[in-house]
Symmetry: C2
Subunit: 166 residues, 2 copies
DNA sequence: GGGATCATGTAACGAGTTACATGATTTG
DNA sequence: CAAATCATGTAACTCGTTACATGATCCC
């Protein structure tokens, strides 16, 4: 369901695009929000066309198909944005490692948190390279706020681990 | 894979337990980190027993089966914790709505962010009800840090939306 | 005895990943 | 002409959810 919404949102924001274009957008601008490869995108666009949410244009050069959002697609997108209250589904390997941290001895735990911190900082750097204007700017700010909070958590956790019996 | 790790971690932390017990733990203490229902847990425990990661005890009262982590299970758990650097996979409906926020008009956008804020606050309340000691305390702090950052983001975004042309 | 809870499972489906497969066009 | 990139797809598999199914035991 959310894949559809993401595709409709992109088509609404940037205008008609091919599956290839949309896959690029996922890689470049949507990667910190939702992920999908071309093998998921192409079949989904076909289904969405069958459901009347997008119009598939005739094949262009190199077999390129350009999809355009339909009024019904826009309606569904608007409905999802305003009516759908997303359930918080967390399935996060980093948080799982944090959960299980007390199972490790002090040195292992410190190494794991150091690695997490490095991962958070890499992510911060990636987010800071994103263009800050245009669509996605709110999501970017949210991502930055969360990753900065995560870095502070890592620093506090390291201080705690190193303080106790260090 | 991570479901196995979560199960091994719980078995390591709390000692031998049944699938039913583990499902309860997922609901109560692990819900903000990883989610799994009994329909996923029971078959996985059978496979893990076949792979030698857990020992299935003989059936007790009401058909209850008690699983115990094996040395090989502990080895795998330790290996995952220390060697596996988790990839950051974000697939988050709230972040997707934040991303697409500029597609809405001002009033709709405000309503959506208000709803998000309420969701974050509900989550904060849930996390604050968790017991703060024991295993999971680090993950709890991480969750609290992230959700507080999210609430601040919602407040700033609302101020911005209301400021512009309000 | 009847309802709540304990306790385990299967089947069908949907979502997502990996590997495979193909061919056109552009650029050096 | 060869390599890179553009562009689309299928098949097999894993992971996760929803719905269905069953029976034992505890407590009122």
């Amino acid at each position: 369901m959310s894949l559809r919404i993401a595709l409709l949102g992109l088509l609404s924001a940037v205008g008609p695009a091919s599956g290839y274009d949309l896959a690029k957008k996922f890689e470049l601008s949507l990667n910190h929000v939702w992920q999908a490869g071309h093998t998921q995108i192409y079949p989904e666009l076909l289904k969405m066309a069958a459901d009347g949410l997008v119009d598939a244009g005739s094949e262009g050069v190199r077999g390129r198909k350009t999809y355009t959002i339909t009024p019904e697609g826009r309606r569904r997108l608007h409905e999802w944005m305003t009516e759908h209250a997303p359930a918080v589904v967390v399935r996060n390997e980093v948080a799982l490692q944090a959960f299980l941290l007390p199972l490790l001895d002090r040195d292992d735990a410190i190494a794991v948190v150091e690695r997490m911190k490095a991962g958070f900082e890499a992510r911060l750097a990636t987010l800071q390279c994103q263009p800050s204007g245009g669509i996605g700017s709110h999501a970017l700010k949210l991502g930055l706020a969360q990753v900065r909070a995560s870095i502070r958590w890592a620093e506090e956790t390291l201080a705690e681990l190193k303080g106790a019996g260090g």
